[in-house]
Amino acid sequence: MKLYIEIAGKRREIRLETADDGAYRAIVDGEERKVDVEMLRAGIFSLLIDGRAYRVVAEETPEIEDSAVYVGRERFAYRMEDPRSLRSRRRGNDSEGGPRTLKASMPGRVVRILVTEGDRVSAGKGVLVLEAMKMQNEVKSPKDGTVARLLVAPGEAVGAGQDLAVIE
């Protein structure tokens, strides 16, 4: 299995091969590494690389686009590019101009909506208010424009990253 991974600001090519005895070989960016792997339980590995020990823990994020591993205490978000990988996804790129979709910055509940469809808004103007864990947060318009659509209603619970409104 060969895969490309974007992690810690680098793009790496990793080949994992099953050797004849059922074991693995790893070639990272063309360089073969001596790696000893032990899975303690699902998603928790002990890696020994040149004698150094690393505790690698999968975060097990529910969202596919948001994969991360911990090495010791450090969190590394990553993105796979292997077409065979289940988790490989392209992120939708927001175009710079054109309509912009307002997304929820945190999971929460919509407590107030400050505009109505058709309103003109300027960049930085509050569009609606989310509340979670006793903290209110005003979601602001990213640009000057018109409120094309409101996708949520007051009282509605939203997840992080959920679309809230479209500004044209």
Partner: protein
């Protein structure tokens, strides 16, 4: 009397904390829960559990009437309110008294005397205790506010008398700011606390927040159990607490402690309570307010005194006289607590409720964790974001810091964002090591540029890349066998064998 059954009118780690104390005394526990807390730890570990209502606190944990009804129905002798929710609600304490269910805390009367900040300031004056200059009654007009501010000198703090947790508080640097602040603070106070009473006090320059734990029985005995320093705050919310304070010596401790005891006795206070002070750099201390309940940060006091505050609360509520005298209270070593929150320090500290998909907890020498969550638990969006309290004890402050950092290295919370990284940053900060902290310390640290990223060695990055690849590999493997994201025992065995053969070279 000895309680047979206690209802715990709270949730999260504090509910579990109280349940554990009850179990240690052979007292049965009654838990209450809202709809989103049915699977919470405090329900799992209780002896009985009853539903309160929907998620919103106003329909569940704040429903004193329902809670009292459950207490009576289940035959509870007493109610422990924890902190937050109904813990400082004098009406609820009074309703308990009337219903013949012991409220584990001060009397409604003492709570009223010390609960309002303005009345507490009057009590401080009566007890002859230093407080910040300013008004001791609600301001009736902008004109009065102007006069008071003029007299004590700017900058001043405008505060809600009924406030708490940093809400309804405003710093006013110059006279021109007073008008706008006065009106908005009043309406904000009215909305948040149902009272528009506000007052003014002088702002102390770079104060430390140092508080005294007091404990009073119902027979007139009152002790102080040393101080806690809680200067590391963000938006007036405590983030890290420690005991003892690095700058409080025995003499100052005694002066502050005796002042706090005097205040408690003046108000007829019973049970555990905290008297908060601001401390300036000249060792002057100023009464700030009283918390008429157990504090979040009580464990640091427990670790340095060797006492158990919840047991002592129950002793007192059972009517026992305190078995300790002031000279029995010895402080030893140093304890530091981190409040682990579901919030994202890298994204404006936004709340981060959701499912905890991974939880590895630290342990070993000197580590105590009072945790209210578990792997698989979905942190609801409806309450306070506190997940857990991680506390380290060690012989010295320096070792306690090192121990907390070690524990933080072991700790993994996955699936939601949390503030573990913030603690690392503070605990590794030189200013914090030197105990050069005050209530604005953390804001300065956070505004002083983004965290210096721990240097990531190429080796660690390689490990991360390989770890991620291995993980994807195991995901693909299990996907192809249709077994979901958890590898089957067979696959795990295959991995193990792979590891044993020390292959991958």
């Amino acid at each position: 009397m000895v309680f047979q059954k206690i209802l715990i009118a709270n949730r999260g780690e504090i509910a579990l904390r109280v349940e554990r104390a009850c179990r240690e005394r052979g007292i049965a526990t009654v838990a209450v829960y809202s709809d989103v807390d049915r699977a919470a730890l405090h329900v799992l570990e209780s002896d009985e559990a009853y539903r309160l209502g929907p998620a919103a606190a106003s329909e569940s944990y704040l429903r004193g009437d329902k809670i009292l009804e459950i207490a009576k129905k289940s035959g509870a002798d007493a109610i422990h309110p924890g902190y937050g929710f109904l813990s400082e609600n004098a009406d609820f304490a009074e309703a308990c008294e009337r219903a013949g269910v012991k409220f584990i805390g001060p009397s409604a009367k003492a709570m009223r005397a010390l609960g309002s900040k303005t009345r507490a300031r009057q009590a401080a004056d009566a007890a002859g205790m230093p407080r910040t200059p300013g008004s001791t009654k609600g301001l009736v007009s902008l004109e009065e506010a102007r006069q008071v501010a003029e007299k004590i000198g700017y900058p001043v703090m405008l505060k809600a008398a009924a406030g708490g947790g940093g809400k309804g508080m405003r710093v006013i640097a110059k006279p021109e700011e007073l008008l706008a602040a006065f009106d908005t603070a009043r309406s904000e106070a009215e909305r948040a606390f149902g009272s528009d009473e506000v007052y003014l006090e002088k702002q102390i320059e770079r104060p430390r927040h140092v508080e005294i734990q007091v404990l009073a029985d119902e027979h007139g005995n009152c002790l102080y159990l040393g101080e806690r320093e809680c200067s590391v705050q963000r938006r007036h919310q405590k983030v890290i607490e420690e005991a003892p304070s690095a700058v409080v010596g025995p003499e100052l401790r005694q002066r502050m402690g005796e002042a706090a005891v005097r205040l408690a006795q003046t108000a007829g206070y019973t049970n555990a309570g905290t008297v908060e002070f601001l401390l300036d750099k000249h060792e002057n201390f100023y009464f700030l307010e009283t918390n008429t309940r157990l504090q979040v940060e009580h464990p640091v006091t427990e670790l340095v005194t060797g006492l158990d505050l919840v047991h002592l609360q129950i002793d007192v509520a059972e009517g026992k006289p305190l078995a300790l005298r002031q000279e029995d209270i010895m402080l030893r070593g140093h304890a530091i607590e981190c409040r682990v929150y579901a919030e994202d320090p890298e994204n404006q500290f936004f709340p981060s409720p959701g499912k905890i998909t991974r939880l590895l907890q630290p342990g070993g020498p000197g580590i105590r964790e009072d945790c209210g969550v578990y792997e698989g638990w979905t942190v609801p969006m409806d309450y306070d974001p506190m997940l857990s309290k991680l506390i380290a004890y060690a012989p010295t402050r320096e070792m306690a810091i090192a121990r907390l950092l070690r524990a933080l290295d072991e700790y993994v919370i996955g699936g939601i964002r949390c503030n573990l990284g913030l603690f690392r940053r503070i605990l590794q900060d030189e200013g914090f090591s030197r105990a050069e902290i005050d209530t604005e310390y953390l804001d300065r640290l956070l505004n002083g540029g983004s965290a210096v990223m721990a240097e990531r060695s190429p080796a660690v990055e390689l490990a991360a890349a390989l770890g991620a690849a291995l993980l994807e590999n195991s995901h693909s493997a299990s996907a192809s066998t249709g077994a979901g994201s958890t590898p089957s025992p067979d696959e795990q065995r295959a991995w193990k064998q792979a590891g044993r053969r020390e292959a991958m070279r």
